[in-house]
Every structure is written in structure tokens, then in C-alpha cells.
Amino acid sequence: MRIKRAAVVTTAVLMSASLLAACGGGGSSSGGSADGIYSIYIGEPENPLVPGNTTESEGSQVLEALFTPLVTFNDEDNSVEYNGVAESVESEDNTTWTIKLKDGWTFHDGTPVTAESYTKAWSYNALSTNAFGASYFFENIEGYADLQGSDTAEPVATELSGLNVVDETTFTVKLTGPFAIFPLTLGYTAFDPLPEAFYADPDAYGARPIGNGPFKADSDFVPGQGFTVTKYDDYKGDNPAQSAGVNFKVYTELNTGYNDVQGGGLDVMLDLPEDAWATARDQFGDRYGERARPDITSLGFPTYDPRFQDPRVRKAFSMAIDRQAIATAIFTDTRTPAGSFASPVVDGYREDACGANCELNPDEANRLLDEAGFDRSQPVDLWFNAGAGHDSWMTAVGNQLRDNLGVNYALRGDLQFAQYLPLQDAKGMTGPFRSGWIMDYPSIYNFLSPLYSAAATPPAGSNYVFFNDPAFDAALAEGNNAADIDAATADYQKAEDILIDQMPATPLFYGLNQAVWSDRVSDVKIDNRGNIVLEDVVVS
């Protein structure tokens, strides 16, 4: 009897032990606070770290460390500067562009950055069978259509016919039409070069990217945890890293990161949890920084809905919203009222472009609404996606519409993104809806064409208001044909004036990036694209 019982115990213990042993592997990695290395908060990047497949902010922040783009931007006025790999980007006709690279740039594996490092990468990014998120960035390059497959057909080509290598450091890009601000777009990560090593093993590359930037990756990126990149000694750019390296720490919860940065376990954090928006400035003092975020939040109008077809109705709604009150009460001034369709950080922004149309004026709003014969007895649906913190400010918007216009509202905020977006694509919005946009490149064009041009109507683009105005499209086209960037911007501003007159959406707020850091680091700056300038951070 005794023996049998002992056997039973042994079996049970062995069973548990074998299971534990099976899962016991993997030691804990060491902390990222070695000498001269600082740590920074990031969320989980959505995809492996390849420039052509990274369109979200977390992966982009990592790629900022590992890559230097073709062109950079002036920190004050957002104009193009040739402090990147490109020596010049020039065109006679705005259609065929010649890109000349500087000599001597190398990838972290020692291979040179050549014209082919770009042309091959761009074709790879564009090819639909590679399923890269940034594919559409190349759609205005000649030959893009041939690289797109469909449900039934494979792509007929694998290389963009518009790209031609002239010599080792020169290549030409032929666009499908004139695009005066093409050089501006080249600062986006999707246009970064790829070394030959990428094509040999794209999976391995995505875990440990080989770039041409101020930092290099020495180990694989561990999903859920992050990795450390170290200073690249042979960096050719003007701004080499001021620290020995950066440890990217992956978090899922902002509050956890904020506790960590207060406790000294984390050095830099951009984007703060809601509870800290108002208090961080005082709590961190000179270890706090902020800068306008290159984004905009608008209220889009379903122009396909009979109730919102009259521009006077849309203007009336715009004038019934007190943006400042919401920014202060709901966002504790971490949003600023928008007075233009473009973000303040871009080339071509005009502070009061929208003027009286975007300011609270209940009397005028009611007059316009009466004039348009709007039926106030029917409540207005207000749409937004669930679980993303939009409830409180949309409620405030609804309350203001009710108080100022005498129209009741119904919140339609119970759809997750996966349901909300297809509904938006299918003209399913039965009332004004939340609309958000984050900049890709610092031109006013990036806030107009992708959101309001006829060519961007879903599913091809993000014109969720289904705005279709030939005069607006013509003004944009004129800008694309303009002699230089300044002339183009002037034309784009004319297009914005048409928007303000037609009001297919109304600008509401601009975001604010807030950063805090530990006393181990200094010189923490936010650039005009909303990233931390990683190479400038100094570790004490």
C-alpha cells in the first residue's frame, strides 16, 4: 500500500516536472541600461522591421534609428534639405526625376548604398505579392499597375518600368503624371534603401534590419520585448549618434511605461497616458517636452447622405462646435483647435485658413440651417470607432450641437475598427463621423489629396466623405504641374479654399506630442514628424 502511494506521488510530480521542463527554456535578458545606452518606450511594431512594410508609428520610430532617408526636412519651416543620402532630386518637367546620391554611404554590413539599393527596393515594396503595407506609396511611378495582382491574376511584371539606373549613384524616376512636390515625399521610410542581404533572407532581415542610419542592430528584435541598437561608427551622415545606443522596450500599457519612467527603469517616453496629460509638465519640469503632432482630427460629413448634401448644413455644424472648450475640458489642452485642413507643422499651413467657418457662431449657424431647411426633429447620428477613447469628446460635440442647433444626437460608437472601416468604405455613415489623419510627408498636399480628391474615393483611398469636386481636383493638378514646390503649395492652398467653402468635413483639433525623460538623459527633442530625434539624445 505504501509503495503504491509513493508511486502515485512520483507519477504526479514527474508529470508536472516534465511539463515544466518542457517550457523552462529561455533565460531572462539583461536590462538595457548599460553604459551610454538609453531606453525608449515603443508599442509592438505591427510587422517585421522592413521599411516598405512599416506604415505605423512604432515600427517607424525603430526604423528612424536604423535608416537615413534620401531627404530630410528643416526643423523650422519643413522645407526639403539634402542632409540625407540624396545630393539632389531634380526634374525638368515634374514627371521624370533624376536622383543623385552622395558618395561613400554604406550599409551596416559594409556594402555601399547605390542607385540599385533604391530601385530594387522600391520595386519589391510595390509588388503586390509581397503584400507590403506601403505599396501604394509607389502608385504614381510608371509601371505600378503591372506589379499589382488580383484575386484571379498574378502581376505581369516584377520591376517598376519607371525606374532606371543611370550609374552607380544616379537613377531616374518616371512618374505617371507631373508631381511638383515629389522630392518632399522621399523623406518617408518606405523610400529607404535595402541592401542585397535583404533579398537573401527577408525574414531574418525583418528581425535584424541592416540599414544606413546612425544606429545598427546587433541582435534580433524580440517581439513583445524589443532590442538594443548601437552606434554605427562608419555613419556617413551629418548627425552621428551622441549616445552608445538605444534600447527599444516594448510595452502594451502606457501607464506601465509611465510608472517605469518615474521609477527610473525607462529613460524616454513619447505619448503619455491620459491621466498624465495635465500633470506631466509640472511633475517632470525640465525633463518634459512637447510639440505639435503632425495630425488632424476632423468631423467628416457623409456627402452622399441627402441630409448633408447642402454645404450650408455642413457649415452650420462646423459653426456650432466650440473647439476650444472641448480641447480644454476634455483634452486638458493637449489638443489645439484646428483652423485649417492642414496640420501646423506642414509646408503651406495657414493659421486661419478656415476663419469664421471654423469658429463658434450659433446665430449664423442657425440661420444657415434654417436657410437650408434642415429637419431638426430627426436626431443626428454621430459615428466613431469603439475602444479608442473617442467617446467623451464625441459626446461633447453632440451636446454642443444639441445646445447650439437644437438637434438631438445619437452616439454610434459601438463598432470596432474592423467593422467601422468597411462600413465607412461602403457609404454606411448615417451622420457626421470622426476622421483622423497622420501626415506622411510635410506638405499641405498630404492633408488634401488622400482625403478629399475624387481619385482617393474608397476603396482606392481615404476620401471617406466621398467628396467629389472637379474644381478641387483641378487646383491640386495645377499644383502638381507647378514650377517648384512654393508655386505648387500656392495652388494647393487654392484647393483648400474650395474645401473651406464646401466643407465636406470640418477641422476640429491638432494633437500634441508630449515626451518625458529620466535624469540620465538630456537633449531629448521631438522632430516635426512626431518622432524622438534618437541620434541627438545624450546619456550622462
Binding site: 508511486a7 502515485v8 509592438e44 503586390s128 505599396s135 484575386d151 506601465t256 521609477g263
Partner: protein, 307 residues
């Protein structure tokens, strides 16, 4: 005994197939288009969408999708998430974290729970008994994520007793998350033990033992506790499954890269392969620990025999 265990283990196969189908069906039934959500405010190029839908069989019906999935499963292919990372890699990386967290939590809930329960039962009505009563009520009524942030803020940040987050400090990284994860079960264990021990202490055989002059310590550990532990052991065994569920919240709060966080991310992105793979693993654990509990019964209670 051996035959019994074999039979139980064989029974897990149909259970796993059934449960994986149910989970798969539930993820499939989630409304919305995951590939569309992947793109966000800015749509993907149509060619890219077609490629992704094809890669993840999203245009097939539920049964075809499931058979493609389970077919790969039996060949050791657990599928990939939307970014192309094999689910098996995710499990391999995250499992040790969750296992360590669970071990710490089980040890804490067992030791502290039983100790508190026994002491409270022996000194009923005392200050300590009331303290256990009040503190367990508190633990049961506060949601885990609130408790997590309170513990992190006070014990981690303000007092500096524990690491605030992450897994870079070895086993001590797991102490605070383990304590938070164990708190709810610890309260139950304490109350269960208290009731059970109190009942045993009033039983005839304990009175007999006392009258025979056996030492107090021997009465409590040899006679009372051993009989009282059967419901407690059942609870702890079954609770391992519950702890895995609680790990979803705890791992997020304390930034532990474990299976709970992987499930959370997988659900948010409607990645069938990730959710089904990990939850099926959880189901297996649950069945396994129930088996361990059943086997342990035989040790605790000589009247129970498996043939």
C-alpha cells in the same frame, strides 16, 4: 493506475479538437474585416489586400478554413500571424514567461492561503481571523487590473520593493505580478481552508485523537489538515486554468511578454491562428492539471483508488 492515466490522456485528443474548432468558430464569427482593420485609416493597395486574403484563406468558409488550419496543425504547422511570424515561435518565446508567472502565483496562493486559513480556523473570532476575513473580502472585490496598478504604483514605484515592469530582473520580476495574479485565488484558498479546517477540528475523530493525548501539532497537520485539504487541492488544481486567464490582464499591466499578452494582441487583430493555437494550449494545461489533481486525491485520501 497507468491505464487510468493513459485513458485520461487519450480522452484529451477529442476534447482538444472540439475546443479548437469552437475557438476557431468564435474568432471566425467576430464581426468585421481584419485585413481592412490592419490598414487603418489609410487603405492598403487592392493588390496587397487580395494577396493577404489569399494567404490567410480568408475567403474560404469556416469549415474549409478550419480544415486547412487543423491539417497544418497535425503536421506541426501552427500557422502564422498577419505579420508572417510563426505562431509556434510566439508560443516558444512567451510560454516560459507565463509558466514562471503561474508557478510563482501557485506557490504564493498555496502557502499564504493555506497558512492564513489554518491560523484563522484555529483562532476563530480572534483579531487575526477578522483580519483574514476583511482582507480576503477586499481582494475578492477589487478587479485584478486595479489591484495591479495599485501594487505597481505603491510597492513598485513609491516603496521600490519590486521591479516595476518587465522580466529583466530574473525571478524577482515575477514576484509582484505573481502576488497580484494569485490574490483572488489566495483569498478563496484562505476561506476554503478556514471553513474546512474548522469543520474537521469539530469532528469526532479529532476529539478522539485529543483524548488519546496526541500532540496538538500532530493533530493539526496529520489529521485535521490532511482531511481538510481535499477541497483546497481541487480548487488550486482547477484554478491553474483560471490563473492562465488572469495572466492576460496581469501580463499587460506588468509588461511581461507572455502568452496572455499574445492572446490579447491576437484577439485585438482577429488573428485566428494565434488565438486558437494559444487557447488550445491553455485547454490542454487545464485538462492536464485536472488529471494531476485527480491523481493527488489518491495520495490525500487512501479511500480513493483508480484502477
Amino acid at each position: 493506475m497507468g491505464r487510468y492515466i493513459t485513458r485520461r490522456l487519450l480522452l484529451t485528443i477529442p476534447v482538444l479538437i472540439g475546443s479548437s474548432f469552437l475557438i476557431f468558430a468564435m474568432v471566425y464569427a467576430l464581426p468585421g474585416d481584419p485585413i481592412r482593420a490592419l490598414a487603418g485609416d489609410r487603405p492598403l493597395a487592392p493588390g496587397v489586400v487580395a494577396q493577404l486574403r489569399d494567404e490567410f484563406n480568408l475567403d474560404d468558409n469556416l469549415f474549409v478554413q478550419y480544415f486547412k488550419y487543423i491539417g497544418g496543425f497535425f503536421q506541426g504547422d501552427f500557422g502564422t500571424d498577419f505579420s508572417g511570424r510563426p505562431v509556434l515561435d510566439t508560443i516558444e518565446r512567451a510560454l516560459p514567461v507565463t509558466v514562471r508567472l503561474t508557478i510563482v502565483a501557485v506557490v504564493i496562493e498555496t502557502i499564504m492561503g493555506i497558512a492564513a486559513g489554518v491560523l484563522a480556523a484555529l483562532k476563530r473570532g480572534s483579531f487575526f481571523d477578522n483580519l483574514v476575513l476583511i482582507s480576503t473580502t477586499l481582494l475578492v472585490s477589487v478587479p485584478v487590473f486595479v489591484l495591479g496598478f495599485i501594487a505597481q504604483f505603491t510597492l513598485g514605484l513609491k516603496l521600490g520593493l519590486f521591479p516595476i515592469s518587465g522580466i529583466n530582473d530574473g525571478w524577482s520580476s515575477y514576484l509582484l505580478p505573481g502576488l497580484v495574479l494569485a490574490s483572488l485565488s489566495m483569498a478563496y484558498v484562505a476561506r476554503l481552508t478556514r471553513t474546512s479546517v474548522a469543520e474537521s477540528m469539530a469532528a469526532d475523530y479529532i476529539r478522539t485523537a485529543k483524548s488519546k493525548g496526541i500532540s496538538n501539532r500532530r493533530i493539526i497537520f496529520r489529521h485535521a489538515l490532511r482531511n481538510s485539504l481535499i477541497p483546497v487541492v481541487t480548487f488550486i488544481g482547477a484554478d491553474v486554468g483560471g490563473l492562465l486567464g488572469g495572466a492576460i490582464v496581469t501580463e499587460t499591466v506588468f509588461n511581461l511578454p507572455g502568452l496572455g499578452r499574445a492572446i490579447y494582441d491576437g484577439l485585438a487583430r482577429q488573428e485566428g491562428a494565434v488565438v486558437v493555437g494559444i487557447v488550445t494550449l491553455f485547454v490542454f494545461f487545464y485538462i492536464f492539471f485536472n488529471l494531476v489533481v485527480d491523481v493527488l486525491y489518491a495520495v490525500l485520501d487512501p479511500r480513493i483508488r483508480y484502477e
